[in-house]
Symmetry: C2
Subunit: 452 residues, 2 copies
């Protein structure tokens, strides 16, 4: 049943567009959800997309525009007049989507579009929402909600809700406010269905309502909705007056973005990119970490250069340079990833940093002993010099301990100073551990080769 | 307003437990959500948790148990008899949570607990759900839902819903079925509120309902709910009979797990672990990739060993071994991360592999030229030998091209053969690129040092 985009499907649509066969195209589009049509737009050039767009009924066209990703939407809206954008799209959108779409335009276009919105209240809502930082609850919320006064009877309440419901797409909860607009609770539709109509709203309302303020950071909003399994979360101003609500679908995007951002950081990618982005965007997102890696490599070259004479005498010392560097990097990335993920999930608990370091030290010691013994046994058979055998095992163990320590302490320290701890993963920690690891390795090597 | 766990707070609770001050403890617990109490349990030993548990009212106690994470819950339930588990917890849970909790027990305990559930229908629902693979829609769904026949009038329908609603926590949609239980649509509570009571259900129902089958993989379920912004998704059997529904809160967990799994893979962690897990769990999750890294390091040592004589003559060749290895690793991880994330998000579109490789080649060439020129300029000033200067730049450029190629093609190939493409990131691709990069570097070095 779910739609899957295929080359054949795109070709069928292309054929109908080339033949200007509107009937065939309409037949295809009719069966599709706006989110599917948005995927198709993604594959089309602007003329093809416009041809399809004119065939959609107005409601579906507006929904499709809301589903497009930012770049595509901007590209597409450029070809439409402010009036068409206002009347055919914005007026049919929820206030949060409308604020996002208008917020992406330049100021002049924003004013033009807003001036064409007939419903002054709607235009006002959109302007209100555009004022909030997009990384806060205010930037995520929509104005559409159903609110009832706690002193009304259920009969009054149902009548009022019939009026308000026209504007709201999905009704999950009804918000209960007092005479001053202060949020006092929620009333579920289920309880309204099951209760006597003469009761007052406050008698059936749930007073334990979880809410956030407009300036709550979006990561915190996501954390709260996730932890308490909420589908919708009311937003108030600083004195508790109800202003809007955030729905879970917007927060799923935040949760995903967060998780993906950490992954991209760990992979050395500095912007949110997709494989289909332009070459220049991809290059720009990738070169900063590569440049840092290059600088690290030059530093490492200088560390090794310090031991040039030793390497000239004992070139076999060079054999294990990559192993030591790689293991330091791997262990450091593991340690920091565990901390970064714990911080992101708020799952580190309340235990102290010392306790974390202690546990990490034990884990590192176990791994260090196991791996050092394995490489020792390998070298007993494979290596000619006892000095090298001993150097590699001692260095490997030391590097694993140090890398665990830095991998744990650095993200915790960054987090303490409000810097994104994910910075500590990926190329940064790899490079740091390369330098430190080789310094330890070569120093131990110099001593052991000289004495044994 | 949202609760935040602190050391002080835990100490206050501990104090009240030690003093056996039930009143103080109840006062603290009363203000908290079950999800908060579960966080507190997480910090307590079993006796402390039991003391608190006995103070909770039964409903809240059941909700708290459902919020605990698997390990804690298993640990806690061990201390309770099957009858208590059945009557005080399971009977108050939604069928999907109940099936999860019972599914974690050993077979004997499962049977005992099931035998103590009084409501035969509920026990039957749980047994039905336990039969589904936990990685499919069947494993995610709950049986509780409200369904009405399409031929009923709204008046009939409301009466029937009042009956069914007692059992269902949250009502988002009412499902519309025909006489054979086949899912034919949904009816929103909003439209019911707004419509004339004499209408038939089918007149106000939305027939374009998106549903999945019980055997749809959970990743696909998550993708569908995310794409279409669904809060709840009905599940049918293979001929379309309505069996259950999946709510977004369960799918948020799937979405997060997916994103985190990729991150953990990229960081060389093979199990879903938390920083507070036991030492042995942490060690077990980390050593497999470290072992692979070690094997890779040994292979690399052999590649370098092949050039021992060259390194003895030109020890400065060793300086840039870590740089070449690290850059190969970094570029490879970047390339594979972009593909892995694209596959996970289904955002690669329908373009061919050739086109992807072509774009990747252009990006790699740009980055390669920029970085090779930088290191060339550095070496012109820093290095004594022209051979080394040239070797490093040529090798760096080649390594970047090769690493991009492998980083792109390997996850795509793995995905084609239904192997998790995230395997291609992290230590695996780093090690592969180490070996390849150093082979290229040393080969070019041998040639250039011999000829220049």
């Amino acid at each position: 049943m779910p739609f899957e985009l295929s080359k054949d499907f795109i070709n069928r649509i292309r054929d109908s567009i080339e033949a200007k066969d509107e009937k065939a195209a309409i037949e295809i589009l009719d069966t599709l959800h706006p989110a599917d049509i948005a995927e198709i737009y993604d594959e089309m050039d602007i003329d093809e997309a416009k041809f399809l767009y004119l065939l959609l009924d107005k409601e579906k066209a507006a929904d499709t525009i809301a589903e497009l990703d930012e770049d595509d939407r901007e590209h597409f809206l450029k070809f439409l007049s402010s009036e068409v954008i206002a009347k055919q799209f914005i007026e049919k959108m929820d206030s949060d989507d409308a604020a996002d779409v208008i917020g992406d335009m330049d100021e002049e276009k924003q004013e033009q579009v807003l001036s064409h919105i007939e419903d002054i209240e709607q235009a006002g809502d959109i302007v209100d929402l555009m004022a909030y930082d997009e990384n806060t609850a205010g930037g995520l919320m929509a104005k559409e909600l159903i609110k009832v006064n706690e002193n009304w009877t259920l009969t009054n309440c149902l009548r009022e809700m019939r009026k308000q419901a026209e504007e709201v797409d999905e009704v999950y909860y009804v918000y209960v406010i007092n005479d001053n607009d202060i949020l006092h609770g929620t009333a579920s539709l289920k309880r309204m269905l099951l209760s006597d109509n003469r009761k007052k709203v406050k008698d059936i309302s749930n007073k334990d309502v979880i809410s956030v303020k407009t300036d709550t950071p979006k990561e915190e909003v996501a954390g709260i909705m996730e932890k308490y399994d909420l589908v919708v979360l009311p937003v108030t101003d600083s004195i508790g007056r109800l202003l809007g609500r955030i729905t879970i679908d917007d927060v799923v995007d935040v949760i995903k973005e967060e998780a993906e951002k950490d992954y991209q950081m760990a992979s050395g990618i500095s912007e949110d990119i997709e494989s289909t982005d332009k070459v220049w965007v991809l290059t720009r997102a990738r070169i900063p970490w590569l440049f840092i890696g290059l600088l690290g490599g030059i530093l490492v070259a200088n560390v090794i250069g310090f031991y040039e004479v030793d390497l000239g005498m004992y070139p076999e010392m060079a054999f294990f340079i990559p192993l030591i560097a790689a293991m330091g990097g791997n262990v450091g990335v593991q340690s920091s990833a565990i901390i970064v993920q714990g911080l992101a999930n708020n799952s580190l608990g309340i235990e102290s940093t010392y306790k974390k370091l202690g546990r990490e030290f034990v884990v590192a010691s176990i791994n260090g002993v196991i791996l050092s013994v394995i490489i020792f046994i390998y070298n007993v058979f494979a290596s000619d010099t006892y000095a090298l055998t001993l150097t590699v095992s001692i260095a490997l163990f030391s590097v694993i301990i140090f890398a665990s320590f830095f991998g744990t302490i650095i993200p915790l320290a960054l987090n303490k100073y409000k810097i994104d701890p994910a910075l500590a993963t990926g190329p940064f920690i790899t490079t740091l551990n390369d330098i430190m690891g080789l310094f330890i390795y070569l120093m131990i090597g110099r001593i052991l080769f000289a004495t044994l």
